[in-house]
């Protein structure tokens, strides 16, 4: 006899465990009796054939079958976990201290720092693991397996649950974990209506046909895991979308007070009008702390203006800026404009911004003639100090040092140690004097110069570190995460409960199934037995 043909006459697809029509266990090796009921098929997929088990003929079917296996999914996850762990043994390429990333340099770093293991690590490509083609392939394969495993199970499950089966085969009922039966002595006509009423009170939906009744509750909780998986897939898609141009941007810019900086990759410019750190005052603190003269910051704030460059066609050309947004940026409260978010994320305070001097005329009793300002970032080549008197910058080294040949040079382009060579000229008198500012002192060219500079308090500025972020995929990622939670809640907080009552001749069968919380359904079954005054021993098998 064909295995697939049930004694009720229904032909089931290959792999079916419980007849689609009558619910009788189908595996011919199992002749089900009450004693061997432990081998009753798993109810997880209602005894339906998984779709991939049904046919396996073409290449497409074979690929499909491969991904439909949960075992394969678990192997994929384990391989990915191991690979991810291996990637943390030595630092990834982007974190190694190599000045220029050329292949020989990188190889040399791993070999010389970590020896033979390092060389193997490099040769196998583990130094670029997380963006390697095979790692990405593994991730996509997990995604694929997620989609196909879900589809392969949800469709037959839906079919099985959508049309609740009544008039089950006796062995189906006997095979259930909660089962009881009794002989009906007298004709109890009101038994089923009463049972229906009791079950309805408990929130069950009633299906009835002839001598068979089923109460069902919270079927939707069976969809929980699948909803959860759909959420995960949406989440993964969102992450993948970030790679599309224009979807994701993460730029860090340092902006001095008063400076306007282009945000690279966008037509936007950002200006730092003012930066302030606010500190907790002593009377604001709940208890007296001994801070030993220290302070605790309360907030970091940049007052910023966001501009859009209307002349964006040509980089480097004078930008035509138009203000689009303005406001304070505080930690966790970014400046928002369309899909652009600007976060406060760093600061360098009290940096030298400009040096200030008073020009002194030594021939006129050291009287101040006028003030000189040397901006360290936007240095003016020449400035008029007083009537006819000019100060000209001859040389400027922002980070002064003497190079190998003993000549003045600059170490960086950051004004950590500014050095200026200046020339003072006067129209009225033939004066042309030179002097140098270095490390807080003035060195004059000649001993008895007429003009010299007196140092006054420099301009100190704060440099604010702003993180500019654009993430159009974020709503999709949040939506995916929401669906994941929804699926988890559906699956965890409700249980799909079914209670069958069936009368075959003089015997009344009662069986119950739930996908979790057997204690809960047992209580409802006991309640039903009590209300219906049934003399019935309910057995609960351990599986």
């Amino acid at each position: 006899m064909d295995d697939r043909k049930c004694e009720c006459g229904h032909t089931n697809p290959v792999g079916t465990m419980l007849c689609e029509s009558c619910g009788k266990p189908l595996d011919s090796r199992q002749q089900l009796t009450a004693e061997t009921a432990k081998e009753f098929p798993d109810m997880r997929y209602e005894g339906m054939a998984r779709r991939s088990q049904t046919y396996s003929k073409t290449v497409i079917d074979k690929i499909w079958n491969f991904f439909s296996s949960v075992k394969i999914a678990i192997y994929l996850i384990i391989i990915t976990l191991i690979a991810s762990a291996v990637g943390t043994i030595f630092p990834q390429q982007q974190y190694i201290p190599v000045p220029v990333y050329t292949e020989p340099e990188i190889e040399n770093f791993y070999t010389s720092t970590y020896g033979t293991l390092g060389k193997i690590y490099y040769l196998l490509g583990f130094h670029n693991l997380y963006s390697s083609w095979w790692f990405v392939t593994l991730l996509v394969m997990i995604g694929t397996s997620l989609v196909i495993c879900s589809l392969d199970r949800i469709i037959p499950l839906y079919k099985a649950l959508n049309k609740p089966r009544l008039n089950q085969h006796e062995s189906f009922l006997k095979g259930q974990k909660i089962y009881g039966s009794m002989e009906l002595q007298e004709d109890k006509h009101d038994l089923f209506p009463r049972a229906a009423e009791e079950l309805k009170k408990k929130g069950y939906r009633i299906y009835q046909e002839g001598n068979s009744l089923m109460g069902e509750k919270a079927r939707f909780s069976r969809w929980g895991p699948y909803v959860n998986h759909i959420g995960l897939i949406i989440f993964l898609l969102g992450v993948l979308l970030r790679n599309l141009p224009g979807f994701y941007m993460n730029e860090y810019v340092w902006v001095r007070e008063g400076q306007t900086v282009a945000i690279s990759g966008t037509p936007y410019y950002i200006k730092n009008e003012q930066y302030t750190t606010e500190y907790w005052k002593e009377d604001e603190m709940p208890e007296k702390l001994d801070l030993q003269g220290g302070v605790i910051p309360k907030s970091y704030q940049t007052d910023a203006v966001l501009y859009v460059n209307k002349n964006k066609s040509l980089p480097g050309a004078e930008p035509d800026l138009q203000e689009v947004a303005r406001g304070p940026i505080v930690v966790n409260h970014p400046l928002e404009y369309e899909d652009l978010l600007v976060y406060q994320s760093g600061v360098q305070e009290m940096q030298l911004g400009a040096l200030n001097f008073q020009l002194i005329d030594t021939k006129a009793g050291n009287t101040p003639v006028g003030s000189v300002k040397l901006d360290l970032f936007e240095t003016k080549p020449e400035q008029q100090v007083a009537d006819g008197i000019k100060v000209r910058v001859l040389d400027y080294y922002p980070d002064f040092f003497l190079d190998a040949s003993g000549k003045p040079a600059t170490k960086t382009n950051v004004p950590n140690n500014p050095m200026f060579a200046l020339e003072i000229t006067s129209d009225k008198e033939p004066v042309k004097e030179k002097l140098v500012y270095l490390r807080g002192s003035i060195i004059t060219e000649k001993q008895d110069q007429r003009y010299t500079l007196q140092i006054v308090k420099p301009d100190l500025i704060d440099i604010s570190g702003l993180l500019v972020r654009k993430d159009k995929a974020m709503p999709i990622i949040y939506f995916g995460a929401f669906i994941v939670i929804l699926g988890l809640v559906m699956g965890f907080y409700w249980q799909h409960r079914r209670i069958w009552l069936q009368r075959n001749g003089d015997t009344l069968h009662l069986a119950a199934h739930t996908n979790k919380n057997w204690f809960g359904i047992r209580k409802e079954v006991d309640h039903l037995v009590e209300k219906l005054e049934l003399v019935m021993l309910i057995e609960q098998k351990k599986k």
């Binding site: 079917d61 220029v100 990405v136 589809l151 993948l240 790679n243 282009a262 040509l314 480097g316 040079a409």
Partner: protein, 174 residues
């Protein structure tokens, strides 16, 4: 659902997943699509020349251009400058332009520096580092050898010798 339909649906689903795979691999392996590579057209820009007017890169079409990104704090940049100057002097009548792009420094720092080295080729002041960001410059000196049609023929990061420059320049002369 008959078998044929099911196969089609499976093909469609597997196809979509395959596209996702290709896209994921492409976007992770091809790291930075914005980076200027040899063979690309050099991105156009306009910058103010030191003590001079604006210069557009496209204005230099028809000439071989060496675009050299540098800063006064960069020792190798300083060392290779005379070699660049020599090539410029020797070949400027044959259609070579050397363009130094200074990264974000002030005129008062750049002008004396350039003068002391005897550099005569045009120096462009990238005050806001717009062009430096456009070319995604990391290490300097970085030199782009651009031919008469505005196509980048070669890129070199690091200090160059005179012979090296001469060799590269020969390939971009009109």
């Amino acid at each position: 659902m008959d078998k044929k339909n099911r196969t089609y649906i499976r093909i469609i689903i597997l196809g979509v997943l395959l596209v996702a795979l290709i896209f994921a691999i492409y976007s992770s392996v091809v790291k930075d699509p914005g980076v200027v590579k040899a063979g690309d057209e050099a991105p156009n820009f306009s910058l103010q020349q030191l003590n001079g007017s604006n210069v557009k890169l496209t204005d230099l079409r028809g000439k071989g251009v060496v675009l050299n990104f540098w800063g006064t704090w960069c020792e190798p940049c300083k060392t290779e400058m005379p070699a660049l100057q020599k090539q410029y002097e020797a070949l400027k009548d044959k259609g070579l332009v050397v363009v130094g792009v200074n990264i974000g420094e002030t005129e008062v720092a750049v002008d004396p520096f350039v003068k002391s080295l005897g550099v005569q080729f045009p120096i462009l002041m990238d005050r806001k580092s717009d062009v430096t960001k456009l070319y995604k410059i990391g290490q300097i000196p970085a030199s782009y050898f651009i031919d008469e049609d505005g196509v980048v023929r070669d890129i070199f990061v690091g200090q160059m010798s005179e012979e090296f420059i001469a060799d590269k320049v020969a390939k971009i002369l009109p």
